[in-house]
Protein backbone atom coordinates (compact mmCIF):
# COMPACT_ATOMS: atom_id res chain seq x y z
CA UNK A 1 0.00 0.00 0.00
CA UNK A 2 1.35 3.45 -0.88
CA UNK A 3 2.08 5.98 1.83
CA UNK A 4 -0.72 8.31 0.72
CA UNK A 5 -3.30 5.47 0.70
CA UNK A 6 -2.12 4.23 4.06
CA UNK A 7 -2.66 7.63 5.60
CA UNK A 8 -6.30 7.79 4.65
CA UNK A 9 -7.31 4.13 4.84
CA UNK A 10 -9.76 3.91 7.75
CA UNK A 11 -9.72 0.08 7.75
CA UNK A 12 -5.99 -0.18 8.49
CA UNK A 13 -6.36 2.54 11.09
CA UNK A 14 -9.12 0.59 12.85
CA UNK A 15 -7.26 -2.73 12.57
CA UNK A 16 -4.33 -1.26 14.44
CA UNK A 17 -6.51 0.18 17.19
CA UNK A 18 -8.45 -3.07 17.61
CA UNK A 19 -5.30 -5.20 17.77
CA UNK A 20 -4.04 -2.93 20.53
CA UNK A 21 -6.90 -4.17 22.73
CA UNK A 22 -5.84 -7.82 22.38
CA UNK A 23 -2.89 -7.91 24.84
CA UNK A 24 -5.18 -6.29 27.40
CA UNK A 25 -7.30 -9.45 27.34
CA UNK A 26 -4.87 -10.84 29.91
CA UNK A 27 -5.75 -8.20 32.47
CA UNK A 28 -9.40 -8.47 33.47
CA UNK A 29 -10.42 -4.97 34.46
CA UNK A 30 -13.10 -3.31 36.52
CA UNK A 31 -14.65 -0.18 35.09
CA UNK A 32 -12.61 2.30 37.16
CA UNK A 33 -9.37 0.45 36.40
CA UNK A 34 -10.28 0.39 32.70
CA UNK A 35 -10.93 4.16 32.70
CA UNK A 36 -7.61 4.82 34.39
CA UNK A 37 -5.73 2.41 32.13
CA UNK A 38 -7.36 3.88 29.01
CA UNK A 39 -6.25 7.33 30.12
CA UNK A 40 -2.72 6.13 30.91
CA UNK A 41 -2.45 4.36 27.52
CA UNK A 42 -3.70 7.40 25.64
CA UNK A 43 -1.50 9.93 27.46
CA UNK A 44 1.61 7.75 27.38
CA UNK A 45 1.17 7.25 23.62
CA UNK A 46 0.91 10.98 22.92
CA UNK A 47 3.65 11.79 25.43
CA UNK A 48 6.04 9.22 23.95
CA UNK A 49 5.51 10.53 20.42
CA UNK A 50 6.17 14.08 21.52
CA UNK A 51 9.20 13.01 23.56
CA UNK A 52 10.80 11.21 20.61
CA UNK A 53 9.80 13.97 18.20
CA UNK A 54 11.95 16.43 20.12
CA UNK A 55 14.77 14.11 21.22
CA UNK A 56 15.13 11.86 18.16
CA UNK A 57 18.25 13.73 16.95
CA UNK A 58 20.04 13.03 20.21
CA UNK A 59 20.06 9.27 19.61
CA UNK A 60 22.35 7.59 17.06
CA UNK A 61 20.22 5.54 14.64
CA UNK A 62 21.16 2.04 15.94
CA UNK A 63 20.46 3.19 19.50
CA UNK A 64 16.95 4.49 18.77
CA UNK A 65 15.25 1.08 19.03
CA UNK A 66 16.92 0.51 22.40
CA UNK A 67 15.92 3.96 23.56
CA UNK A 68 12.26 3.23 22.68
CA UNK A 69 12.47 -0.06 24.54
CA UNK A 70 14.02 1.61 27.61
CA UNK A 71 11.29 4.26 27.50
CA UNK A 72 8.52 1.62 27.37
CA UNK A 73 10.23 -0.30 30.15
CA UNK A 74 10.41 2.83 32.32
CA UNK A 75 6.71 3.57 31.76
CA UNK A 76 5.78 -0.02 32.66
CA UNK A 77 7.89 0.05 35.82
CA UNK A 78 6.46 3.41 36.94
CA UNK A 79 2.87 2.22 36.43
CA UNK A 80 3.62 -1.02 38.28
CA UNK A 81 5.20 0.66 41.30
CA UNK A 82 2.80 3.60 41.41
CA UNK A 83 -0.59 2.04 40.63
CA UNK A 84 0.05 -1.72 40.71
CA UNK A 85 -0.93 -2.37 37.07
CA UNK A 86 0.25 -5.71 35.74
CA UNK A 87 2.65 -4.79 32.95
CA UNK A 88 0.64 -6.38 30.11
CA UNK A 89 -0.62 -2.95 29.06
CA UNK A 90 2.82 -1.99 27.72
CA UNK A 91 2.30 -4.67 25.03
CA UNK A 92 -0.50 -2.47 23.63
CA UNK A 93 1.73 0.60 23.82
CA UNK A 94 4.50 -1.29 22.01
CA UNK A 95 2.13 -2.32 19.20
CA UNK A 96 1.02 1.30 18.79
CA UNK A 97 4.37 2.99 19.19
CA UNK A 98 7.37 0.83 18.39
CA UNK A 99 7.26 0.52 14.58
CA UNK A 100 6.18 4.12 14.11
CA UNK A 101 9.23 5.49 15.89
CA UNK A 102 11.86 2.95 14.83
CA UNK A 103 10.93 3.24 11.14
CA UNK A 104 10.62 7.03 11.41
CA UNK A 105 7.03 7.08 10.07
CA UNK A 106 5.89 9.48 12.76
CA UNK A 107 8.12 12.23 11.39
CA UNK A 108 6.25 12.15 8.05
CA UNK A 109 2.70 12.05 9.36
CA UNK A 110 0.57 14.80 10.81
CA UNK A 111 0.07 14.38 14.53
CA UNK A 112 -3.54 15.56 14.74
CA UNK A 113 -4.65 13.67 11.62
CA UNK A 114 -3.40 10.26 12.70
CA UNK A 115 -1.86 9.85 16.13
CA UNK A 116 -4.25 12.02 18.12
CA UNK A 117 -7.21 9.92 16.99
CA UNK A 118 -5.33 6.63 17.21
CA UNK A 119 -4.49 7.26 20.87
CA UNK A 120 -8.01 8.46 21.62
CA UNK A 121 -9.70 5.47 19.96
CA UNK A 122 -7.33 2.99 21.64
CA UNK A 123 -8.05 4.53 25.07
CA UNK A 124 -11.80 4.60 24.40
CA UNK A 125 -11.81 0.96 23.30
CA UNK A 126 -10.12 -0.09 26.55
CA UNK A 127 -12.71 1.87 28.59
CA UNK A 128 -15.55 0.37 26.52
CA UNK A 129 -14.27 -3.20 27.01
CA UNK A 130 -13.78 -2.61 30.76
CA UNK A 131 -17.28 -1.12 31.13
CA UNK A 132 -18.92 -3.94 29.22
CA UNK A 133 -17.02 -6.59 31.18
CA UNK A 134 -18.05 -5.00 34.46
CA UNK A 135 -21.73 -4.68 33.53
CA UNK A 136 -22.08 -8.07 31.86
CA UNK A 137 -20.16 -10.03 34.51
CA UNK A 138 -21.28 -8.40 37.77
CA UNK A 139 -24.72 -7.01 36.87
CA UNK A 140 -26.06 -9.31 34.16
CA UNK A 141 -24.08 -12.37 35.40
CA UNK A 142 -23.02 -13.32 31.84
CA UNK A 143 -19.73 -15.08 32.53
CA UNK A 144 -19.01 -15.47 28.79
CA UNK A 145 -18.10 -11.78 28.59
CA UNK A 146 -15.35 -12.12 31.18
CA UNK A 147 -13.65 -14.61 28.83
CA UNK A 148 -11.92 -14.35 25.45
CA UNK A 149 -15.12 -15.49 23.72
CA UNK A 150 -17.05 -12.43 24.82
CA UNK A 151 -14.20 -10.02 24.16
CA UNK A 152 -13.71 -11.35 20.60
CA UNK A 153 -17.45 -11.01 19.97
CA UNK A 154 -17.41 -7.45 21.31
CA UNK A 155 -14.47 -6.58 19.07
CA UNK A 156 -16.33 -8.14 16.10
CA UNK A 157 -19.31 -5.92 16.93
CA UNK A 158 -17.10 -2.83 17.17
CA UNK A 159 -15.51 -3.51 13.76
CA UNK A 160 -18.90 -4.32 12.20
CA UNK A 161 -20.36 -1.00 13.38
CA UNK A 162 -17.28 0.85 12.16
CA UNK A 163 -17.35 -0.79 8.71
CA UNK A 164 -21.07 -0.24 8.27
CA UNK A 165 -20.66 3.53 8.51
CA UNK A 166 -17.81 3.71 6.00
CA UNK A 167 -19.88 4.41 2.83
CA UNK A 168 -21.56 7.31 4.62
CA UNK A 169 -18.13 8.66 5.57
CA UNK A 170 -16.78 8.45 2.03
CA UNK A 171 -19.77 10.31 0.57
Amino acid sequence: MKQSEEKTDPASFLTKVVLVALPLLAARLHFQEACFLGLVLCLSFWGSLLFFYFTERLFPKPALAWAVLAWILALGEISWYAWGFKPFWVASLTLLLYDEIVTGKYLEREFFKTYFWEGLYAGTLVVFLGAFQEVSTYHWFLQAFSQPTGIFLLLALAVLIWQSQMPARES
Partner: protein, 170 residues
Amino acid sequence: MQDALFLISGFGFLLAYEKSEETGPYSGRGDAKPFLIEGLHLLWQALLLILVYEFALMRWVPSEYQNETAFPFFLSSAYLLNRVLKKSTSFFLCVFGMGVFVVINCAEFSLWQRLQKAGGFAAGIVFFEILLAGLKDKLLFCPVPRPLKGLPILFVTAALLALALRGLFV
Protein backbone atom coordinates in the same frame (compact mmCIF):
# COMPACT_ATOMS: atom_id res chain seq x y z
CA MET B 1 -6.38 -20.83 34.12
CA GLN B 2 -8.61 -18.13 32.71
CA ASP B 3 -5.72 -15.69 32.42
CA ALA B 4 -3.74 -18.33 30.54
CA LEU B 5 -6.63 -18.82 28.12
CA PHE B 6 -6.81 -15.07 27.57
CA LEU B 7 -3.14 -14.90 26.73
CA ILE B 8 -3.10 -17.98 24.51
CA SER B 9 -6.04 -16.87 22.40
CA GLY B 10 -4.96 -13.22 22.26
CA PHE B 11 -1.37 -13.85 21.23
CA GLY B 12 -2.35 -16.74 18.93
CA PHE B 13 -4.70 -14.37 17.13
CA LEU B 14 -2.02 -11.67 16.85
CA LEU B 15 0.52 -14.09 15.38
CA ALA B 16 -1.94 -15.70 12.94
CA TYR B 17 -3.19 -12.31 11.80
CA GLU B 18 0.30 -10.98 11.19
CA LYS B 19 1.61 -14.11 9.47
CA SER B 20 -1.24 -14.24 6.96
CA GLU B 21 -0.33 -10.71 5.84
CA GLU B 22 3.30 -11.64 5.38
CA THR B 23 3.02 -14.96 3.61
CA GLY B 24 -0.48 -15.02 2.11
CA PRO B 25 -3.31 -17.33 3.12
CA TYR B 26 -2.74 -20.73 4.64
CA SER B 27 -3.16 -23.28 1.85
CA GLY B 28 -2.93 -26.92 2.67
CA ARG B 29 -1.41 -29.46 4.98
CA GLY B 30 2.25 -28.81 4.15
CA ASP B 31 2.05 -25.20 5.29
CA ALA B 32 1.74 -26.05 8.98
CA LYS B 33 5.54 -26.47 9.13
CA PRO B 34 6.42 -22.74 9.60
CA PHE B 35 3.92 -22.52 12.47
CA LEU B 36 5.46 -25.53 14.19
CA ILE B 37 8.95 -24.08 13.77
CA GLU B 38 7.68 -20.81 15.21
CA GLY B 39 6.24 -22.76 18.15
CA LEU B 40 9.63 -24.36 18.79
CA HIS B 41 11.26 -20.91 18.69
CA LEU B 42 8.65 -19.67 21.15
CA LEU B 43 9.25 -22.62 23.44
CA TRP B 44 13.03 -22.47 23.58
CA GLN B 45 13.05 -18.71 24.04
CA ALA B 46 10.64 -18.98 26.97
CA LEU B 47 12.62 -21.83 28.51
CA LEU B 48 15.86 -19.91 28.11
CA LEU B 49 14.40 -16.83 29.79
CA ILE B 50 12.97 -18.83 32.68
CA LEU B 51 16.20 -20.76 33.24
CA VAL B 52 18.35 -17.61 33.20
CA TYR B 53 15.88 -15.87 35.52
CA GLU B 54 15.83 -18.82 37.90
CA PHE B 55 19.56 -19.44 38.09
CA ALA B 56 20.97 -15.92 37.78
CA LEU B 57 18.55 -13.24 38.92
CA MET B 58 16.77 -15.13 41.70
CA ARG B 59 20.10 -15.53 43.51
CA TRP B 60 21.00 -11.84 43.39
CA VAL B 61 17.67 -10.07 43.83
CA PRO B 62 15.91 -10.00 47.24
CA SER B 63 12.60 -11.89 47.20
CA GLU B 64 10.38 -8.80 47.71
CA TYR B 65 11.70 -7.23 44.48
CA GLN B 66 11.67 -10.36 42.32
CA ASN B 67 8.33 -9.71 40.60
CA GLU B 68 9.23 -6.13 39.74
CA THR B 69 12.64 -7.17 38.46
CA ALA B 70 11.04 -9.77 36.19
CA PHE B 71 9.45 -7.07 34.05
CA PRO B 72 12.57 -5.24 32.76
CA PHE B 73 14.42 -8.54 32.58
CA PHE B 74 11.83 -10.27 30.37
CA LEU B 75 11.15 -7.23 28.19
CA SER B 76 14.81 -6.55 27.41
CA SER B 77 15.79 -10.22 27.07
CA ALA B 78 12.86 -11.02 24.78
CA TYR B 79 13.82 -8.04 22.64
CA LEU B 80 17.45 -9.07 22.49
CA LEU B 81 16.56 -12.64 21.47
CA ASN B 82 14.24 -11.39 18.74
CA ARG B 83 16.87 -9.01 17.39
CA VAL B 84 19.15 -12.02 16.90
CA LEU B 85 16.40 -14.15 15.33
CA LYS B 86 14.84 -11.28 13.29
CA LYS B 87 11.32 -11.94 14.51
CA SER B 88 8.32 -9.60 14.43
CA THR B 89 7.04 -7.22 17.12
CA SER B 90 4.12 -9.54 17.89
CA PHE B 91 6.44 -12.49 18.43
CA PHE B 92 8.54 -10.43 20.83
CA LEU B 93 5.38 -9.44 22.73
CA CYS B 94 4.35 -13.08 22.83
CA VAL B 95 7.62 -14.18 24.46
CA PHE B 96 7.50 -11.25 26.86
CA GLY B 97 3.86 -11.99 27.84
CA MET B 98 4.60 -15.67 28.38
CA GLY B 99 7.62 -14.91 30.54
CA VAL B 100 5.85 -12.34 32.70
CA PHE B 101 2.78 -14.54 33.16
CA VAL B 102 4.70 -17.69 34.04
CA VAL B 103 6.86 -15.88 36.61
CA ILE B 104 4.33 -13.49 38.17
CA ASN B 105 1.25 -15.67 38.39
CA CYS B 106 3.05 -18.87 39.27
CA ALA B 107 5.46 -17.62 41.93
CA GLU B 108 4.63 -20.52 44.24
CA PHE B 109 5.46 -23.21 41.66
CA SER B 110 8.76 -25.04 41.29
CA LEU B 111 11.12 -24.65 38.35
CA TRP B 112 9.90 -27.89 36.75
CA GLN B 113 6.26 -26.78 36.99
CA ARG B 114 7.14 -23.41 35.44
CA LEU B 115 8.90 -25.11 32.56
CA GLN B 116 5.85 -27.33 32.02
CA LYS B 117 3.60 -24.26 32.01
CA ALA B 118 5.84 -22.50 29.48
CA GLY B 119 5.67 -25.60 27.24
CA GLY B 120 1.88 -25.72 27.53
CA PHE B 121 1.67 -22.04 26.71
CA ALA B 122 3.80 -22.33 23.57
CA ALA B 123 1.85 -25.39 22.39
CA GLY B 124 -1.48 -23.63 23.05
CA ILE B 125 -0.50 -20.50 21.13
CA VAL B 126 0.71 -22.49 18.11
CA PHE B 127 -2.41 -24.70 18.20
CA PHE B 128 -4.67 -21.61 18.19
CA GLU B 129 -2.56 -20.00 15.47
CA ILE B 130 -2.75 -23.03 13.13
CA LEU B 131 -6.50 -23.39 13.68
CA LEU B 132 -7.13 -19.73 12.99
CA ALA B 133 -4.87 -19.56 9.93
CA GLY B 134 -6.59 -22.64 8.41
CA LEU B 135 -10.03 -21.25 9.11
CA LYS B 136 -9.06 -17.87 7.68
CA ASP B 137 -8.16 -19.59 4.41
CA LYS B 138 -11.53 -21.35 4.32
CA LEU B 139 -13.33 -18.08 5.06
CA LEU B 140 -11.91 -16.57 1.86
CA PHE B 141 -14.09 -18.93 -0.20
CA CYS B 142 -17.20 -18.88 2.00
CA PRO B 143 -20.29 -16.80 1.24
CA VAL B 144 -19.81 -14.36 4.13
CA PRO B 145 -22.26 -11.41 4.32
CA ARG B 146 -20.54 -8.28 3.02
CA PRO B 147 -20.54 -6.20 6.23
CA LEU B 148 -18.98 -9.14 8.11
CA LYS B 149 -16.12 -9.68 5.63
CA GLY B 150 -12.55 -9.28 6.87
CA LEU B 151 -11.84 -8.61 10.51
CA PRO B 152 -15.39 -9.07 11.98
CA ILE B 153 -15.82 -12.67 10.76
CA LEU B 154 -12.28 -13.44 11.91
CA PHE B 155 -13.13 -12.24 15.42
CA VAL B 156 -16.35 -14.27 15.43
CA THR B 157 -14.31 -17.33 14.38
CA ALA B 158 -11.76 -16.61 17.12
CA ALA B 159 -14.61 -16.33 19.63
CA LEU B 160 -15.98 -19.73 18.62
CA LEU B 161 -12.49 -21.23 18.86
CA ALA B 162 -12.00 -19.72 22.31
CA LEU B 163 -15.36 -21.15 23.35
CA ALA B 164 -14.31 -24.58 22.12
CA LEU B 165 -11.00 -24.34 23.99
CA ARG B 166 -12.81 -23.24 27.12
CA GLY B 167 -15.13 -26.24 26.78
CA LEU B 168 -12.13 -28.58 26.85
CA PHE B 169 -11.14 -27.45 30.34
CA VAL B 170 -14.52 -27.13 32.09
